[in-house]
């Protein structure tokens, strides 16, 4: 009896804040509902609309574009910084804190600051570019580079967290491997390629999965910085779901988008998990 009592807080939380919303969302996908009117049963209309909705598929492609830029960029920079911080350098603690600082700053604040930095006419980055004789870049108003600009900002914001993870990975590589390699006359690159990289492989996979899940949740940055534009080029899947729900009150349709999107994320994570296990 006491065991039921002990798990009851978690069970209440699970039922109220996880199970009920999930079940309600699934029910919602078969209804048309604008929050304040009666729900109207529409069968599978929301799903058939979804498969013809050009914007939803575009938002998925945009999210994937973001991931393709963001994940490699994040891993390479985080690994490079972690490798640098793992050396005997001056003010190591200061640099570690500095790289981690953006992680603890609110995403909204970071995005607002970068929006100013990216300004085409008054932004600091363009002012610097012009002062050294280069042209202005339409960072967030050109459809071809807006998502890349957001990926750069997101990388800057999150890289500190992955630096810490890589640092832990690097410090767990046994020193004796490097000593043996030194005896064999291995170069710095060879030691990195054949000792460090294989040894931190689990960390790389973990960072990839965390970045993927974080990337799929892309919302604050395009919501504040571009509103999904220009020409829907930064419209992420989550932003599109949000707009359908809270700008146009298409709760049923939004729930069906969310469900399909959750399924896609699950598939990606399952594939990644399979690859990790296969590798191990």
């Amino acid at each position: 009896m006491i065991s039921y009592f002990l798990v009851s807080p978690y069970l209440v939380h699970l039922i109220l804040f996880v199970s009920f919303p999930v079940i309600f969302s699934v029910v919602l996908t078969f209804h048309k509902w604008n929050i304040i009117s009666e729900m109207q049963y529409v069968g599978i209309d929301n799903y058939s609309r979804l498969f013809q909705d050009r914007l939803f598929w575009k938002s998925l492609v945009n999210t994937l574009t973001f991931l393709v830029v963001h994940i490699p960029l994040q891993i390479v920079i985080a690994l490079a910084l972690a490798y640098f911080l793992d050396q005997k350098i001056f003010c190591k603690g200061f640099f570690r804190a500095t790289f981690f600082l953006p992680v603890v700053i609110s995403g909204v604040v970071v995005t607002m600051i970068w929006k100013q930095l990216y300004g085409v006419d008054t932004g600091l980055i363009n002012k610097l570019l012009v002062s050294i004789g280069l042209g202005k870049v339409e960072w967030i108003i050109n459809k071809n580079i807006a998502m890349i600009s957001i990926a750069i900002m997101a990388t800057w914001k999150n890289v500190g967290l992955y630096v810490i993870l890589f640092l832990v990975g690097l410090q767990s590589v046994p020193q004796r491997y490097y000593e043996a390699a030194d005896v064999e006359g291995a170069s710095r690159w060879q030691k990195f390629r054949y000792i460090t990289l294989p040894a931190i492989n689990p960390t790389i996979f973990m960072v990839t999965i965390l970045s993927t899940i974080g990337g799929f949740n892309l919302f604050i940055e395009p919501y504040i910085m571009t509103g999904g534009g220009p020409l829907n080029s930064t419209l992420s899947a989550v932003l599109y779901i949000y707009k359908q729900a809270f700008e146009f009150y298409h709760m049923g349709y939004s729930a069906s988008l969310g469900l399909i999107f959750a399924f896609i994320i699950m598939m990606v994570v399952v594939i990644q998990k399979y690859m990790i296990e296969k590798d191990e």
Partner: protein, 415 residues
């Protein structure tokens, strides 16, 4: 307790929410205090709308949570139909004395505009902020124009003369004007829709549940704005953050309402002078220029069990005395016919000369169509606006036609 919604005091019969604009809070507090003194048997509790990202979100949350106040002022006219269709508002025309009241206050055009598609009226027209073009007098005087740039061609010519690369870096940094480039539906009210109303003398966007805007006026408004961005007469950057570009002398004009006056009077640098002229129109436009007036209404939610008392209170809020107090405390215009002919307001307008242009403009205004999905209609227009006006990727004719097609599909799916 007579009403079910809200957190009323135990002794209050009704609860009233105003906007959280400081002037409107002062006005509402005074009106409520006066009412409570006179009507101790049916007192009101007043509070500004709770803080949130937008008042629309708060009202929606209150409706969902059934915690709406009995009375809410500052409801955007365009959203009333959404709530009316959801049966959360009291049809005011069912209240005793409403017909006489509304005909006394409003002209037939306004009454037609606020009448819902089901024939009922769910809103009291309360206040307006008509849009006009504000301009920096010094800048326009330097251009030596024969007349103010009232037409599209005159405006574009003046813009060409005014735009400059001040720091010599090869890029324009002094623009003729500025309007929001944000891709949010309501921002189109302040540029495209205002220009459309001006060009068309107030034609609707939606008529008989079909898109009505595929006409020369919408196309020309798109073409005018497209030219503005193509020639860098306006910046494509969102200039809402940082220093006000109008006050900073970076732009010469902008489309704005009378709320700007108080702000400018408070913050303008020495020697800064400004005035207003109507929204630019096509060359062949004849007669007075109409504009969008950003109308806000007062509504009674159906959680109110004493709607007749609520109505009696609202009447004191918007009678001639109430409107004068509103003018004095907020410097916004009541939506009332013959505003410039009412003797009681003469002194106020004489003391506030800057408002005169808006009082004159208030004779030629238009609000928003009664359409349940107007926000989506404006979002569709925003999509085409972006492609055509901001990125020059479509001809205005095609952009407007595409918007018309998408809106008709949307309206068809609502039947």
């Amino acid at each position: 307790m007579a009403c079910s919604g809200g957190n009323k005091d135990r002794d209050s019969v009704l609860e009233y929410w105003s906007s959280n604009n400081i002037g409107e809070i002062t006005f509402s507090r005074e009106i409520v205090e006066a009412w409570n003194l006179k009507h101790p048997e049916s007192t009101l509790k007043f509070q500004p709308i709770p803080e949130g990202q937008s008042s629309e979100e708060i009202i929606l949350a209150a409706v969902v949570g059934k915690t709406t106040p009995d009375i809410y002022s500052n409801m955007w006219q365009g959203i009333v139909e959404f709530y009316a269709k959801a049966n959360v508002l009291v049809p005011l025309d069912t209240l005793a004395g409403f017909e006489d009241f509304v005909h006394d206050r409003c002209d037939s055009l306004t009454i037609r505009e606020i009448t819902s598609s089901d024939g009922h009226i769910y809103q009291f027209p309360w206040k307006i902020n008509p849009f006009m073009t504000i301009y920096n007098k010094k800048f326009l005087a330097e251009l030596n124009l024969d007349t103010l740039p009232n037409t599209y061609t005159e405006y574009l010519n003046a813009a060409e003369k005014f735009k400059k690369d001040l720091d010599g870096d090869g890029y324009v940094d002094q623009w003729f004007g500025n309007t929001s480039v944000r891709l949010v539906w309501y921002q189109r009210l302040f540029n495209f829709y205002t220009l459309y109303i001006a060009a068309s003398d107030g034609l609707p966007l939606i008529k008989n549940n079909r898109a009505f805007f595929n006409n020369e006026y919408a196309i020309e408004a798109f073409r005018f704005l497209q030219e503005i961005y193509k020639q860098s007469y306006f910046s494509k950057e969102d200039q809402t953050a940082g220093q006000d570009p109008f006050l900073a002398g970076k732009i010469a004009t902008k489309f704005t309402g009378p709320w700007e006056i108080e702000y400018l009077e408070r913050y303008k640098p020495e020697g800064f002078d400004y005035d207003y002229f109507p929204i630019p129109v096509p060359e062949d436009h004849q007669g007075p220029v109409y504009t969008y007036c950003d109308p806000k209404s007062i509504v009674i939610f159906n959680t109110c069990t004493e709607p007749q008392i609520a109505f009696e209170f609202i009447k004191t809020m918007v009678d001639k005395k109430g409107d004068l107090l509103f003018l004095q405390t907020t410097k916004q215009l009541p939506r009332r016919k013959g505003l410039d002919t009412i003797k009681a307001y003469e002194n106020f307008f004489n003391e506030n000369q800057r408002l005169q242009a808006f009082v004159e403009q208030a004779k030629y205004i238009r609000g928003m169509d009664n359409c349940e999905v107007i926000t989506e209609v404006l979002d569709i227009i925003t999509q085409e606006y972006e492609a055509c006006v901001l990125h020059d990727m479509k001809e205005p004719e095609k952009a407007i036609a595409d918007a018309e097609r998408a809106v008709n599909i949307l309206l068809g799916s609502q039947k």
